[in-house]
């Protein structure tokens, strides 16, 4: 079977840097693979280890630098990696991102059975792209999957936690699963895997390959735009406790001071 895993390179939120104008200094921030996408890759590899003929394609939209997360995906065991990179894509909002991903999947992995994504990306934090992608491809989805019990060419069996309820779904393939929890088995690549991944190569496609006009994508094609961005004043004025720390702390906790 054919599995597509959508991955995103995100700035490391533990390493936030600001420009003088109070904008995010994306150039100087460290980047990493979105944690939820790491889980998505692991789930795909867990399925691949059960069904040997499974082919996993990792796909990402981003600048050239995003090839780093695709190399990592291949080191984890992805068979193929596709980078959707074009200056015109920059600034795409969620619906346009989904359109670009959908166009690429239709053209280059048209025989997919399953798309696995992370539940959300920790920079934008919208959780909208997976749903939009399923809508455009006209496939069913389960969003917020916490376990994939089985997935084959016909059907996936998954669970989704909803408060104290655990919903078990059978979903026909092709379908999309957005995962919210870590896979049963985590894949940690070894040095050999990284070397093997380097030799595989990444397919790169842009605007023309996908048949978009530049007015349909990126900032120009996105229905939404940032009107203004600002840093919130979060500072609560904490009351400083000067003495008798433990007593005061216990009082605050137990007596709801």
């Amino acid at each position: 079977m054919n599995i597509v895993v959508c991955v995103k390179q995100v700035p490391d939120v533990d390493d936030i840097k600001w420009t003088k104008e109070n904008n995010l200094d994306r150039v100087n921030m460290l980047t990493k693979l979105n944690p939820h996408d790491e889980w998505a890759l692991d789930w795909a590899m867990n399925i691949k280890s059960k069904f040997k003929d499974t082919k996993v394609t990792a796909i990402s939209m981003g600048p050239n630098q995003a090839s780093e997360v695709l190399s990592y995906a291949m080191a984890k065991g992805a068979d193929r990696a596709i980078l959707l990179s074009d200056r015109a894509f920059s600034g795409s909002d969620t619906i346009v991102t989904a359109k670009i991903l959908a166009a690429a999947i239709k053209k280059y992995v048209s025989d997919f059975n399953l798309i696995i994504t992370g539940h959300l990306a920790c920079d934008g934090d919208t959780a909208q792209v997976p749903v939009s992608l399923a809508q455009i491809l006209d496939i069913p989805d389960v969003i917020g999957v916490n376990e994939i019990f089985n997935a084959d060419k016909n059907m996936a069996i998954v669970s989704q936690k909803h408060g104290k309820d655990i919903n078990i779904f059978e979903i026909n393939t092709p379908c999309l699963l957005a995962v919210k929890e870590e896979a049963k088995e985590k894949i940690v690549p070894k040095i050999d895997d990284y070397i093997r991944a380097q030799n595989k190569g990444i397919e790169i496609y842009g605007l023309d390959d996908l048949g978009f006009d530049k007015n349909e994508v990126g900032i120009l094609g996105s229905p939404t735009m940032v009107w203004k961005a600002f840093r919130p004043q979060v500072s609560k004025k904490a009351v400083k406790i000067e003495q008798n720390f433990s007593e005061r702390l216990v009082d605050i906790i137990l007596k709801a001071e």
Partner: protein, 338 residues
Amino acid sequence: MKKIIVYCEVDFVNKKLEEVSYELISKARSLTKIAKELKNEDYEVEAVALLDEIEIESVKNAYKAGANIFTLIKSDSLKVFSQTVFAQSFVEYFNQNKSDIIIFPATPRGRIVAPRITTSLDCGLVADCTGLDFIVRDDKLMFAPTRPTFGSELMATIISKTLPQCATVRAKTFNAEFIYEENDKINEFKPISYEENRIKLVKTILDNTPNEYDFSDAKIILAAGYGLVHNKDRKYFEKLEQIAKLIGAKVGSTRKVVDLGYMPQATQIGQTGSTVEAEIYVAFGISGALQHISGMKNSKKIIAVNIDEDAEIFNYSDYKIVANAKTIIDNIYEKLSK
């Protein structure tokens, strides 16, 4: 007259509207006043619910909360939730009754159905907004939702260049105000009966397994950070667990101590762990990395203990104790186990 549609969240068992629906209706109504003030434009608020039937009390409350019209998209196929069926039914209605603005609840169901609807309508959607407003741009009135992004470190006001302009809003972001005129008129719409055969809910199991790390109803959370590491052993983590047991609290942790193996993954609070809203949250030896902050900042009372006077966590705290967290734990433990 222009219209703001509020997509209502429903309780399928009791055929009622969920509280968040009233919150969004009241907020939409207050937005109509802003539109009037800024550009003298008249908007009305339409509450739209999708269900097979609805109790009349909810309809009355929707009007009292500020709705000018209440629409029920009514079909037997809307008895249980299916994102595709709900999206198709709503889109069918919308295409015959367009509005400039749609506000969705960012509930688990709302978050799944809203992007299906907006993608189908080929319009934008601003997720998880904490503020809704109007602005005037190029002499035009525009819906201007604001949302936290980047782990809440940045706020962005995002406008839509196309119609409808849509946003999702979390429950409890705004208050419902039942101050408007009561009515019980239902505008009924029967959609084509859609079906979703590709996905089947096999069963729903109640998660009864006692889970000491289920924070959903935790009143007090004691959270352990890297400042509790001592000679590479778990001594202070264990002590904190014992204190928690004595006072009926739950123990949370940060990604760092989870990654280093001091605490199980299930205790992790933050962006890649649980999001909590405790009555009382005590952070022991936690510096306040953004990824942790975004999971606990909505707790009602936050107390932080950290040796570093300038620790980021203090910016989010109600009480600040500058001290070695391990010493404090020793003292509390001694005090409580007497």
